[in-house]
Amino acid sequence: MKFLAMCSTGLGSSFMVRMNIEDIVRELQLPDVTVEHSDISSAGPESADVFFVAKDLEDAAAGLGDVVVLNSIIDKDELRDAVKSAAARHGLT
């Protein structure tokens, strides 16, 4: 199972989201999840199972597949709920 955090540059915000997803994956003890980050232009539907983007990139991420849109990328509670739901959707919990 692969989670991919994305932003426009693949450096700033996506890395922050990746860090926080990794923390949450550890906290929830989700098995076999890898977390990566990248810029949105280099990502395709095959790049990951679940894609995480900030609200502004919602349109750009359409068509990638299972896309999670975050209101704030530093709101860990929102992200925790999003990771939990994604894990449930993909049968991890």
Binding site: C7, S8, T9, G10, L11, G12, S13, F15, M16, M19, N20, A54, D56, L57, N71, S72, I73, I74, D75, K76
Partner: protein, 151 residues
């Protein structure tokens, strides 16, 4: 570590009423002065925001301005500008920002330590609130050092 990069001379406070362009220019100023970035990097950040880059809005009134390494990042560096009045990104009220960070990374690998420290600080509700309440550069460096020592 973030505390090694975000030193007191890289932290500014302003009571002026600024546009987002002025805010991005001012937050980048200490990095430009130190030779951490070129003026091209500042232009690249402004261009990317102008092109719709409100993705730098992290939420909670905080924005992380950055461009790609090849746009003129000389050294990995971070600066901060706290505004008394918000300077909304692209003048959009829903992107009201009064705490700007400027981030430069020479390559994707070089910045991971400082960025993970910044991500943890900003995602920790208590420390984030303390950072927003800080009234001097010394307050900011103190709370970052304390955060890093306890993790």
């Amino acid at each position: 570590m973030l505390s090694e990069l975000l030193t007191e001379e890289k932290i500014r406070f302003s009571n002026d009423s600024l546009t987002w362009r002025q805010a991005v220019t001012q937050v980048a100023e200490p990095l430009l002065a130190a030779g951490d970035i070129t003026s091209g990097y500042v232009d690249a950040m402004i261009d990317s925001i102008a092109a719709g880059g409100t993705y730098i809005d992290l939420g909670y009134g905080i924005a992380l301005a950055h461009a790609r390494p090849e746009s003129g990042a000389v050294r990995t560096a971070i600066s901060m500008l706290r505004l008394a009045e918000p300077a909304p990104l692209l003048d959009q009220p829903e992107h009201s920002v009064d705490l700007y960070f400027c981030f430069a990374a020479v390559d994707a690998a070089a910045h991971t330590g400082a960025m993970s420290s910044l991500a943890r600080i900003l995602s920790d509700t208590e420390t984030r609130d303390a950072l927003r309440d800080a009234r001097s550069a010394a307050d900011v460096t103190k709370l970052i050092t304390r955060f890093e020592e306890t993790r």
